[in-house]
Symmetry: C2
Subunit: 159 residues, 2 copies
């Protein structure tokens, strides 16, 4: 039920990067060092990430925070990433190319993300469509405190 090692990829990372670069080209966007770095960080993360966290996970000084915001906004428009706003109010982005539709379990303490390979909700989208809605999509995420964090007395960030 839960993937531990390759949470959300059906393709190897290099292939996913290539696919993303291809989509960028198709849309007339340029392939720049910051963009490649952002995509690599996104793919490496294998799940939803906050922009700030993504930026910090990138090689020192390879890219400005403002650029991360701009690129992710551009990536979203052409379907490379998905943006959402979990419970904390800060934007979260997730790489979407080449992966199955799935959901996550996010630890409230350490923010660790695990993917779940089931989705029982798709059938429900039909009900929403029957209601007259078009382009229906959904978002489902689980939150909790992972066993590792639950054992620690202090809420230290330690996956």
């Amino acid at each position: 039920m839960v993937h531990n090692h390759t949470p959300d990829s059906n393709q190897a990372p290099p292939a996913r990067l290539e696919e993303a670069l291809g989509v960028l080209r198709e849309h007339g966007h340029r392939i720049t060092r910051p963009r490649v770095a952002i995509l690599e960080a996104l793919i490496a993360r294998q799940g939803p990430v906050a922009i700030e966290v993504l930026h910090q996970s990138m090689p020192n000084g390879v890219c400005d925070l403002a650029t991360v915001y701009r690129c992710l906004a551009a990536f979203e428009k052409i379907g490379i990433v998905r943006r959402s706003y979990f419970s904390e109010g800060t934007a979260i982005y997730e790489f979407t190319l080449g992966g199955d539709h799935h959901h996550h379990i996010i630890c409230r303490e350490c923010q660790k993300v695990e993917a779940l390979d089931f989705c029982v909700v798709e059938g429900l989208e039909r009900l929403v469509r029957d209601r007259g809605y078009r382009d229906v999509s959904h978002m489902l995420e689980f939150f909790g405190v992972c066993s590792t964090c639950a054992e620690k007395p202090d809420p230290a960030k330690n996956p």
Copy 2:
């Protein structure tokens, strides 16, 4: 499957207000004019509202915006309201007392929100708990373009 008129109330509005005031007292909070006004506006709304919108819907000058933020945060702690962050990044609060757990359909164009009275996901939380997570919760929302917006050539904000 979809409630159109009373999205999330099993009780009449006055009863809901009384229940909320009772919860406030139980937790040692005071009943003030701003708080009653906020609760009334929340109950009248019968669904999720953005804080700014809620504030504007209240009687002229009855309460400061900062107070709305503070009260809603307090209400959330004692279970009177639920906070979430749909797609726009601004916080949304919803009155929850006397209502069932449920989810929403949000129109991507006009942001109209309708409530759905089912939740098939709760059973799945068990799977997450079995995985070792504690304090498990989930978030599920549907997005789409409502029939009214789908008919309009321009994406004007018109529910």
